[in-house]
């Protein structure tokens, strides 16, 4: 597991993503909130943070969280996403040897928060890390969802003079936050 995680980290960092890992959801949440603080999130256009609904938030008091973090919005729509600085969502899978995240992105809020804002924070369960593309494609089936997204690093282009430039249409920053689940938690989600 750790070797696989190290491979993921190496590959994801090689494509300019930031990778963190926390032993519990609590620490992951604290990290996200302090990151939003540091990024200057506030209740003003171009400064909002939008958090798409996800299993990570289940059982958490969203009102309390947003009360402590002005500008953080859980009710995601097109308009607020278009003026948000940070988008947060949970991704379903991670592929180690390419540093890729994968999700069922059929619900539109999942795509809005990961395309429009300039920073995307991606939460992912550590136990959902697989070694490579074939092992991932054995786990997902397009019959189950109409939109599957693969994300590998931030948006990039090299269309002018082959110079790599980060952040053309999608996020210019991708912050990946792995969180471990305890065996009890794992049992309840699986």
């Amino acid at each position: 597991m750790d070797a696989v995680f190290e491979t993921f980290k190496l590959r994801a960092e090689a494509v300019s993503a930031e990778v963190h890992r926390f032993p519990h959801k609590k620490e992951a949440l604290d990290f996200v909130l302090s990151y939003l603080n540091g990024a200057g999130v506030s209740a003003a256009p171009q400064s909002y943070a939008v958090w798409a609904s996800c299993p990570f938030l289940e059982g958490m008091d969203r009102e309390k969280i947003s009360a402590g973090m002005p500008g953080l919005v859980f009710d995601v729509n097109r308009e607020v996403s278009a003026v948000a600085k940070v988008g947060i969502s949970q991704l379903d899978w991670a592929i180690a040897n390419t540093g890729t995240l994968v999700q069922d992105a059929a619900p539109v809020d999942q795509r809005l928060v990961s395309t429009l804002p300039s920073i995307h924070i991606a939460l992912v369960r550590s136990d959902r890390l697989v070694p490579d593309l074939p092992s991932l494609l054995a786990k997902i089936r397009p019959e189950r969802t109409n939109y599957i997204s693969f994300i590998t690093g931030p948006s990039r282009t090299a269309d002018i003079e082959r110079v790599l430039t980060i952040g053309v249409h999608g996020p210019e920053k991708l912050v990946i936050v792995f969180f471990d689940l305890s065996s009890d938690e794992l049992e309840s989600v699986n």
Binding site: T115, E143, I160, H169, G170
Partner: protein, 715 residues
């Protein structure tokens, strides 16, 4: 060749921005591609892709039906047509019915192929390309110069100027700022568009899924924000199973841009909710435009295995010089030439097919295992059949094939060349022939051809006999190479026969599409070379070797002359190139090198046919090292020298700059000697160096065939 075409070549090779950007990219590409494939078995991967794509090509109808059923079951509307006009009409009607005023597009070669933008714009609909490169060329009113990197021919200064003129004043040539500016401007377009148009990289029949690969993230926005999504999919993208995605998705980013995976991959299998909760209208257009016809052609069905990675462009010594605009059409480079001939018209490929120098670089990297140079030759053949051979060409071949006449003429030339000859070179030719010696000197015609001098060599009577196939260059210009070969074989106890009936190998005819002539050459040579029982037929010219070993068979097959094939195979089994034969003899202990020789530093140039068709690149290196030479490898040792047989005569404006790069790489090694196995390469490189040396002061480098360097080092 059209004058316009020649002018566009001249313009391209003299455009430092274009050649600079493309050259740098292609030089870096080989290494970065290799790195991306580290840990992967590329041969196994591409075999898998070729198998699955060729299966799909053979079952197009079935897969298109399956795709339609699977997708429609999920609420997608599928429209299938062979006619580009119907594709445009469908989209236009859809736009009108839904009151669409503004469309955003992510990159789609299929839409470029049918000139969709112009049609939508003519109907008053605003079309915004959102891929940065595509947007730039849309603003500039140009076509893409590269399948994956459409604006690679432009500098940041040019991009800034276009933005200033077409969008908003005040943009500076600063790449991150230009990108940010584009992000802002295009964001507004994304948010207001009512329709999004994409292409697709794979279409999975069993699940009705389209797979879209991008780096910028524009396809995600195009498929998310507008309420209508139209995907235009060329039916060559169809694959049977979801599992087929694995090999293509593994290879495509590595071959295209040397990435392990692109930033984004989207797999869409049906309509998803819009941002206002309504279901999206999803339309998938399966476009044929002669693809079915192509898949039914016994030769060209192979082209259906293309995954549109453009790696054939990236490794092409010609493309890196001329870029995409010379091709004048939407699809460019090697595969683009083939696609143009089909999707446009065979005639449309008439000029551009001549750009291929047949070096074979692309066959080594193609993830679809397509024999691109082979297919381009087939185009050449069909074009020659259609319009007939040019008269001058016919006249030349009739002389070349008549050895006696050719002889007489060359001897006459030998006498005539005296006034222009300087040592062993012709540096300037008079009048209309001057182009031929503008960038390199030509070798002087030998006083006596090998076919005469070889008779004077006293050979020991040996039990084992081999036949020597000289080829034109060794026979008439470099007989000393042949004489050395005889000496070496004699040392191994082998007698060398020179079958008098041998004639031109037919490569020039074949490479010009004149297959009938090539077939006559093949028959004559087979008769001459199989007349006596010999253990091998050896040649010291890799192009001739390939012709004898592979092309005779394929020429007969192309012409349907199947009766001739068995004898061609019989010959093929005996044919071997010089270095591979010597290596065998050394390994068997029949030839021994002198001990303890220290012969100094050299560099080795791989000839295209030897390395890529005959797969002999280690053999000559090993022999030269055993002889006592120390090899310093040059950059791109296996890149073509620009000779390509008659290519250097037909397109000297391309041959010259390719040679120039080769000379720079040779000189950078600091070696005083460059060795190679092909007399054609010797002619090109020696001629190029002579031209440089005869002008301004140059570092002196000697050019030699391997045979010349081994002859004195063997016991």
């Amino acid at each position: 060749m059209e004058t316009k075409f020649r002018e566009s070549i001249a313009k391209a090779v003299h455009d430092p921005n274009l050649t600079g950007a493309l050259g740098r990219f292609s030089e870096a590409y080989r290494t970065s591609r290799q790195k991306a494939y580290e840990g992967y078995d590329f041969e196994a991967l591409r075999t898998q892709i070729a198998q699955r794509k060729s299966y799909a090509a053979a079952h197009l109808d079935e897969l298109a039906e399956l795709f339609t059923r699977s997708a429609e079951a999920r609420g997608t509307k599928v429209f299938r047509t062979n006619d580009p006009a119907k594709v445009r009409e469908y989209i236009l009607n859809l736009a009108r019915a839904n009151g669409v005023k503004s469309v955003v597009k992510s990159k789609s070669m299929a839409s470029e192929e049918i000139h969709l933008n112009q049609h939508l714009e003519a109907a008053g609909i605003e079309v915004g390309e959102t891929d940065l490169g595509e947007w730039i060329i849309q603003l500039a009113g140009q076509t893409p110069s590269h399948m994956v990197m459409p604006a690679i021919h432009m500098t940041k200064e040019e991009v800034a100027t276009i933005f200033n003129e077409q969008v908003e004043e005040g943009q500076k040539p600063d790449i991150p700022k230009l990108v940010k500016f584009a992000r802002g401007k295009l964001r507004t377009k994304f948010l207001k568009a009512e329709m999004g148009i994409t292409g697709a990289n794979i279409a999975v029949a069993e699940t009705g899924t389209i797979v879209i690969v991008t780096n910028e993230g524009n396809a995600r926005l195009v498929t998310t924000l507008p309420k209508i999504h139209v995907a235009i999919v060329g039916i060559e993208k169809l694959m049977e199973k979801f599992d087929d995605v694995v090999p293509v998705l593994t290879a495509l980013p590595k071959s295209a841009t040397a990435q392990l995976l692109t930033s984004y991959v989207s797999m869409i299998s049906g309509p998803v909710p819009n941002t206002d909760g309504t279901p999206k209208q999803l339309h998938i257009i399966l476009m044929d435009n002669r693809r079915t016809e192509m898949s039914q052609d016994p030769k060209f069905k192979q082209a259906m295995q293309c995954i549109r990675c453009a790696s054939c462009l990236n490794v092409c010594p010609v493309f890196r010089l001329v870029g995409g605009h010379v091709f004048g059409k939407v699809y460019t480079g090697g595969i683009g030439t083939i696609l143009t001939a089909w999707f446009d018209a065979l005639k449309a490929a008439d000029d551009i097919q001549s750009l291929c120098i047949q070096c074979g670089n692309c066959t080594e990297v193609c993830p679809g295992k397509i024999d691109i140079p082979g297919l381009i030759l087939e185009l050449r053949r069909r074009l020659a059949v259609e319009k007939g051979q040019p008269l001058v060409q016919k006249a030349i071949f009739s002389v070349v094939n008549n050895r006696k006449l050719f002889h007489t003429m060359l001897r006459a030339a030998y006498v005539m060349q005296k006034p222009v000859q300087k040592g062993s070179f012709i540096r300037h030719l008079p009048f209309f022939l001057s182009d031929m010696t503008e960038f390199r000197s030509l070798p002087a015609i030998a006083e006596a051809p090998l076919r005469d001098t070889i008779k004077k060599i006293k050979q020991p009577a040996c039990e084992e006999k081999i036949a020597f196939y000289a080829g034109c260059l060794i026979d008439f210009a470099y007989p000393e190479m042949g004489e050395s070969l005889v000496k070496i074989m004699n040392k191994a106890g082998i007698e060398v026969l020179f079958p008098e009936g041998q004639t031109c190998c037919g490569a020039p005819a074949r490479y010009s599409g004149a297959y009938e002539t090539a077939a006559q050459n093949a028959s004559d040579n087979i008769n001459a070379l199989l007349a006596k029982d010999v253990s091998y037929v050896v040649s010291a010219c890799p192009t001739c070797t390939v012709t004898l070993k592979h092309d005779f068979i394929s020429t007969f097959e192309s012409l349907g002359q199947t009766d001739a094939v068995p004898r061609a195979r019989q010959l093929a089994d005996k044919v071997i190139d010089f270095s591979s034969l010597v290596k065998k003899l050394v390994d068997a202990g029949r030839l021994q090198f002198k001990e303890g020789q220290k012969l100094g530093k050299i560099t080795y140039h791989d000839s295209c046919h030897l390395k890529r068709t005959l797969h002999a690149s280690q053999e000559p290196r090993e022999l030269l090292t055993k002889a006592g030479y120390e090899i310093t490898e040059m950059f791109e040792a296996d890149m073509c020298c620009g000779m390509g047989g008659s290519y250097s005569l037909k397109l000297p404006e391309i041959s010259a700059p390719i040679l120039e790069r080769k000379l720079v790489n040779i000189k950078k090694t600091g070696a005083p000697l460059v060795v190679m196995d092909c007399p054609g390469c010797v002619m090109q490189i020696r001629g190029g160096l002579d031209k440089q040396n005869s002008g301004i002061q140059g570092q002196h480098v000697e050019v030699q065939h391997t045979v010349q360097r081994l002859v004195d080092q063997l016991k």
